[in-house]
Amino acid sequence: MEYLPQILFILIVGAAAFIMAKRISRIRKNILLGRDTDRSDRKGERFRNMMLVAFGQKKMFKRPIPAILHLFVYIGFIVINLEVLEFIIDGIFGTHRYFASIVGGEGAYTWLMNIFEFLAVGVIVSCTIFLIRRKVLRVDRLHGQEMTAWPKMDATIILVTEIILMFAILTMNAADSLLQTRNPEYITTGTLFFSSFLKPLFEDMSTSALIALERAAWWFHIIGILAFAIYITYSKHLHIFLAFPNTYFANLNRRGKMQNMPEVTREVKMMLGIPDETGASAAATVNESEGHGGSGAAPQEVATLGAKDINDLNWKNLLDAYTCTECGRCTSRCPANQTGKKLSPRKIMMDTRDRAEEVGQSLDKGGPGLEDGKTLFRNYITEEEINACTTCNACVEACPVQIDPLSIILQIRRYMAMEESSSPQEWQMMFQNIETSFAPWKFPPSDRFNWADSLKK
């Protein structure tokens, strides 16, 4: 059965692809539980933004040390994927170092392999420093109330896996280099700088043991990468893919501008007896509200004002949640959080994702989905958190992948104010003042111009 490894390989890759496809489809459905929001405009600007912020990592460089370390892992991830392509070809066709057999093992291939090895070492060094920052230096923003056992374990698993996968490449290359000197069937690849340091460890091994080691490292690396790819879809690490769409669909308006509610505009104009020129946009909102239920919710005639659960948020909010890698830059800049309030923008994003996952898993099993008696607001996010926000946009500014926690907070505030009338008492007083005195404080409107009295004397 000389084809056995190839058949096994194809089965493994096929199974991994199947699991991935299923998982991606579930995440996509979860994100589309959100309401519609139109981000199909300004395509050129969006593309440039994505290239700068996601591809070019522009916002990462506000913090240079993690930025440089992250750059190594990022470039390593992109470039080493080229090697995975060779792995796939070799695995399917039973070849060995297919690219080398085409372009020759020396020269360009040696260069390429050395670049891979350099990047592999870069990834190992960076991930090790990342682990030290988490476990030894205990960098503040990597901890915090929402960083419970699982998020911490998740981060550790990701970093350790990346280190192990890179060692597998280096081990494979070291064993391969030794085999090249013993068996002419192994195509010579020239000197591979970094893996040559591992050679002394394996020098005394028999040729058959070396062959076994080389094969084991090869299988370990490729199965490891496939398993990691599946794991990522359940982890905080999805940013490696979602950073791209997330920056492409990012809000391009001034940060100070809150999203309008056309359904309210319509009603206000009706109340004030003003002809509504925005009739078209109001009609569009009705369509949005009909469409937002997805597969889980019963169709609603009138959409909830503001948000109490994930289906009241828009799909970009949910994409934000799946993109979040829990780095905590937002929380470390949040004035409320930094002065000891419960609000943490990172927790808002994590809660939103966890709720979306909960609903999705329930729907997968034919469960009640959104109708499980729980809601994002109250079961996950509390009033105390929502009320503490100063809307200062520091979290939005800090996020390297343009996640907008403020958008979620403000939509929940709308729900509290307009659906529940549960805003803080002092705010209700302020509302009343604006209604009766046209100012947030209780002063008679006739006093509004008194400030000028002393000037006119």
């Binding site: 506000k62 308006n253 001034r254 940060r255 100070g256 809150m258 309008n260 309210v264 206000v268 109340m271 004030l272 003003i274 020129e277 004002l305 004035p335 409320a336 930094q338 002065t339 000891g340 309030k341 105390e384 009320n387 503490a388 926000c389 100063t390 809307t391 200062c392 946009n393 520091a394 500014e397 403000l410 929940i412 505030r413 709308r414 509290m416 104010a417 307009m418 803080p424 002092e426 705010w427 302020m430 509302f431 604006i434 209604e435 046209f438 100012a439 947030p440 404080w441 409107p445 006739s446 006093d447 509004r448 111009f449 008194n450 400030w451 000028a452 002393s454 000037l455 006119k456 004397k457």
Partner: protein, 263 residues
């Protein structure tokens, strides 16, 4: 000296249209401390001889505090009524000393039918200085003095206005000292998002105290602000540290008025 503060109604009665509408805002109208900023700005406008007017009793809250607290209905009621007044007077250009009014009228009124050129007073003052209309005398009261500028979130991150206020301060010939958290990393005063109108949630510190400490630590004798709520929060923060005799919290317009002897 007598200053003129014409209202739109008066102007309209004379068949005149001013070059700018000065939107005073609720804090500028009712807050005892910020009324002084309003007057300082009016004095500057008078001195420069700009044709301006205010709405006076016809002005009403932009709705920003209601909107940030979630009450979209109330916001839109306010906005719609204001837009009717502004459009009724055919307003083209609005200048305001409140970053919250500025942000709302500039970014949020267009969707509701209010389209104006909206300028915050920091940018407007900078333009007046650049155009030579306010000739900053060297050797004024603030020459060589340490001033730190506190970025208002609604000017800075919300609207990318970081340089105009600083250029105004540089024109005073003062020594501008920056806090570590400034510009895009500026730390909020604690008042935004309608926090101005309620007690903060429990924590180990108040946001404004944290910020005031940072400002005091720069060694500046003046904390310059460009927002009524930042001014309240930082003044309270400085007071809580018993530093109100050493460190003054002043608005950009007050600094210029003082420098110009318009007090």
């Amino acid at each position: 000296m007598e200053y003129k503060v014409p209202t739109m109604a008066e102007m309209a009665a004379e068949g005149k249209e001013p070059e700018i509408l000065f939107w005073v805002g609720c804090a500028g109208s009712f807050d005892d401390r910020y009324k002084n900023v309003t007057r300082a700005f009016v004095k500057i406008l008078n001195k420069v001889g700009i044709s301006f007017a205010v709405l006076g009793p016809e002005e009403a809250c932009t709705g920003d505090p209601a909107r940030r607290a979630g009450n979209e209905f109330l916001f839109q009621m306010q906005a719609t009524a204001n837009i009717q007044v502004l459009n009724g007077y055919n307003i083209k250009k609005v200048v305001t000393a409140c970053p919250h009014c500025f942000n709302t009228i500039k970014n949020e009124y267009p969707e509701l039918g209010g389209n104006y050129e909206v300028i915050h007073h920091s940018t407007y003052l900078q333009q007046l200085i650049n155009d030579g209309k306010v000739s900053m005398k060297g050797g004024g009261e603030f020459k060589g003095k340490k001033i730190t500028y506190h970025d208002s979130c609604y000017l800075g991150r919300a609207n990318q206005i970081y340089e105009a206020p600083r250029e105004v301060l540089e024109a005073l010939d003062a020594e501008l000292v920056e806090m570590k958290r400034c510009k895009t990393k500026g730390f909020c005063c604690g008042a935004g998002g309608s926090q101005m109108w309620k007690e903060p949630e429990p924590g180990f510190k108040d946001v404004n105290v944290d910020r005031a400490e940072e400002a005091i630590d720069t060694g500046a004798t003046t904390i310059a602000t460009a927002c009524p709520f930042c001014m309240t929060m930082l003044s309270d923060g400085v007071k809580s540290k018993n530093k109100e005799n050493d460190v003054k919290v002043l608005d950009l317009a007050e600094l210029i008025a003082k420098n110009e002897g318009l007090d």
